[in-house]
Amino acid sequence: MSEAPTLTETPKKRQTLNINARDYALLGALIAIIGFFQWSTGGKLLLPANVNNLISQNAYVVILAIGMVMVIIAGHIDLSVGSLVAMIGAVAAIAMKTWDQPVWVAILLALALGAAVGAWQGFWVAFVRVPAFIVTLSGMLVFRGLAIVFLTGGTIGGLPNSYVSIGARWVPAWMGKANELDVLTLVIGVVAVVGYVVSQLAAHNKLKSRGLLAESAPVFYTKTALVVAAIMYFSYLLAQHNGTPYVLILLGVLVLAYTFVLNRTVFGRHIYAMGGNRFAAMMSGVKTKWVDFFIFVNIGTLAAVAAIVTTARAGSAVSSAGNFYELDAIASVFIGGAAVQGGVGKVSGAVIGALVMGVLNQGLSIMSVDSAWQQVVKGLVLLAAVAFDVVNRRRSGSA
């Protein structure tokens, strides 16, 4: 044998196809759910005012799901974010009402507290190696308890106007109105569309020019056209109401920033590497402990953002705020295709998962379904989504 025998191997195409198929299935499911509620509520779901509410009422799910998806990719879980929202909201309210601090100080204080609490939990998970399930279960009890202690069981209301606007007001219509439509909102919609199309086209062409796995042209253009139509319709609806909620801008920035962090930064790559194979990551020089630590600092900070949005929308801090928020966030992440074993997950998936949860909340509320039954429905949807995923993965042999 003097020369290397040639090997004929054709790597399987199936896996990549399946991953794309999963993304489309998720979007399809969201559209189907929207369609169902649009029909069952007699068109009320997509009334401009309801769409506006859908965003501001479910902003916390999106914010927490973004932090949670990173935690779950790394192979952990965080059960404490709901309680954390209550506690940090309480502290922010106390800062403004009891200590008479300006709004910006309260906001900075809340964010710093979120980061500090995250560092506390991250310390136990990363360095003492207490399982995150236990650390954050403890946090769930501790922070809820502290929220009640801080508020002495009551409520702090009457939060300043500028604070409340973060969660409950709209960007002023300084571009005026045309045919009762807020021009600024339409402009934002157009900018989003242009940004989306340009970036998608650039990525698609680059992939193609390198001969890498690009979607076929019809699929790509159909998908792009659908997204463009969705964004435009969405901004048209908002423009009919009061325009663009501040919180939507916040969500947009967070989604873009964290998509970038997970896809493009060394930190994001280390999270995936750790979740996919912790030992291989360690052997490659990833500082796994520090990555774990900062993942928790991050979700703590995002919980503070969620706390600000929640108290601002309510105009008050209550100790029962944020109940079950952790479960909404975890459910969104798993509906969005993350794997329980870690290593898999996307910000976009988590956001779509959060939208599914949001539409369920909103649709069922409009149908005036009892909140007990709402829980039953959400629970079953979560089970169905993950079961679908597990079966799908097993079939493709990648589980």
């Binding site: 044998m1 290397a4 090997l7 191997e9 399987k12 060394v266 291989a280 990551a281 052997m283 990648s398």
Partner: protein, 502 residues
Amino acid sequence: MKDIVKEFSGVRALDGVSLDVTRGEVHGICGENGAGKSTLMKVLSGVYPHGHFDGEIEFDGKPATFGSINDSEASGIVIIHQELALSPYLSIAENIFLGNERATRGIVDWHETNLQAKTLLDRVGLKDKVTTPVLQLGVGKQQLVEIAKALSKDVKLLILDEPTAALNDEDSAHLLNLIRGLRDEGITSIIISHKLAEIRAISDRITVIRDGHTVDDFTMKDKDNSESRLIKSMVGRPLDNLFPPRTKNIGEEIFRVENWNAYHPVDTGRKVVNDASFFVRAGEIVGFAGLMGAGRTELAMSIFGRQYGTKITGTLYRNGEKIQARTVQEAISNGLAYVTEDRKRYGLNLITSIAANVTGANLNDVSSMGVIDLHKEVEVAEEYRTALNIKTDAVTRFVGTLSGGNQQKVVLAKWLNTTPDVLILDEPTRGVDVGAKYEIYGIINDLAAQGKAIVVISSELPELLGLSDRIYTISEGRITGDVPREEATQEQLMKLMTVGEN
């Protein structure tokens, strides 16, 4: 057992093995790592059910068609694996009757359980209380519990896979005596072992397996029952021309390890690496030969960022200067690279792209201020794809979709991308087919030609003889030999690899 053939995705692990064990004897099975011993035992004990292999098994004069381990146990065949399978938090008695509880209508009779367990423990000579949790026992005693468990099932044929591998001399002696005692009670045993002296001492008859064939079979009553006959049979295969030609260009010493010691991370009293010293020159390929559990991987991993072991002591030199490698990052920045064995567990993230794996150990190279340049990443991966001939249609493919040989090339690419001076390759061709092996040997030769120092750890002696300029042998954590390629023979290496403490 007659003409057993077992294939794993096209690779013949067993190719017509026959084994003939007489009632009431202790039968030794010898062979190199990967010769097919364990596979054969798994066929015999029903781990691979009837129909998943070719050939015939006859037990007690009747053809046996075991569909599962339960079937073989029902006929009296019990296998005790190298990794013991006891539940650590359950008591000795509970473990003995696990799956075979002394119960009526689902209610366990603890009195009966403990009483019978006590009788069994007496038979195997274990004095601990039957209520002791298994995790409080040493490996030697756990081995005895396994045997007691086998006895509880009315065993007729007991198969022991490397029973003394993790035992000290005293425990080994006790175990071997016990097996002799069981033989006198009429229980037949099959023992697989790497320790040649031991296997000759205990066996009535020995079968040697090599490359999935039975190559020798003799009783201790035969005239020639020497250790050298055993060794010759184990390694006797001629060296095929499996290795690409190479032009040697050996330079100065690059890397030296002196007086390296490491202890077991959990059992901290056990010294796993014992005063090891070695060196590698630029352009030199140095082999490390040792049997499984000899401490080869532990040596490498304790050097590379102290990823294994505790109480590590010793000195590392690079180009004559003392260096530290206390963390993986430090090791990498000092020009070390360690290509792990068991790539799926330790080497790769299978659920991400080839490109992400290739750059995984040196992300700084393709990023600035923490932001990865994804296009540069793809370019780097493409370079390695061409250079190492990784067979895929795109580097954005998941690594999990590649064949074993190509996965191994991805791990190699990942470590070459850290631009090391010293490459430690741990079992670089395990689970890789012949063609890809040849390619990987070619890559190793090229790297040596570029002046890199290469350490190859391998269980396959022919591989080491084909690749290396020099071969270190390691046995029980100690370096027992430093043999130039010209003087090395498989027999001599095998002898050095099996040197005991005494």
